[in-house]
Symmetry: C2
Subunit: 110 residues, 2 copies
DNA sequence: AATCTTTATCGTAATATTGCAATATTACAA
DNA sequence: TTGTAATATTGCAATATTACGATAAAGATT
């Protein structure tokens, strides 16, 4: 890459891109959908549900956790992952506001 | 990576991740915001507006175009980029539906 | 035609991501 | 304490992304 230039942009743009990057792999979408679909936030069987090795799932979970989208609670020797509702709301709002920026006047090229 | 396993996931999950990946760099957010903010969809001055080289901007534009978020119309020797309103709407809906999947019952871990 | 402007592409370097086997860590159970 | 189950971390290989200078391509202008 030469040198990363992500820091030349607005904080809000960087936050947006961090969240988007968390969503940018189908495995992470699948993990989130699994957590969302299971009423109680079971965790380790995410590994059973997805066609990836345990180590790989673990890494994806870390990415999601660092983006603030999920959090993990220790339950015995297992860990219970679930959505971080507060950050989820912030993320949702960021995307919503962004998508709303398009109105009919903006679309010029036929 | 060893070998990519993105194709082991649902088409919808892959489509979601492709859009998210398009949003996953602050430069591309900045480009989209610039296109959205300028009423008429001027293009080449995106290069002037951002702190990146012309070749780099061009690459980011291709990523956005391949994701279907923008389209380019040739105007003389310049190119006019603008939002692809139809795909923008599809993308927006995908994200909206996804974010709506969280309800209070889902958040278990205090 | 010669030149300028604008955008795309090529080549290359630096860095990041993805994936997994192997291993470590942690908590429980016997 | 020894074993077992669950998760994280390490190390490494393969691939993707980011960045830009140089150059090419295509339309405009003179």
């Amino acid at each position: 890459m030469g040198i990363s230039k992500t820091n030349l942009f607005d904080t809000s743009q960087q936050q947006f891109s961090v969240w988007a990057k968390a969503f940018s792999h189908p495995a992470r979408i699948a993990i989130l959908e699994h957590i969302l679909s299971v009423k109680s936030c079971i965790c380790g069987d995410i590994v059973l549900a997805l066609p990836l090795a345990q180590a790989t799932i673990s890494q994806h979970l870390i990415v999601l956790k660092q983006a603030g989208l999920i959090k993990g609670n220790i339950e015995g020797n297992a860990i219970c992952y679930c959505i971080d509702a507060e950050n989820w709301g912030k993320c949702k709002n960021t995307f919503l506001i962004f998508f709303e920026k398009l109105n009919i006047q903006n679309t010029c090229c036929s």
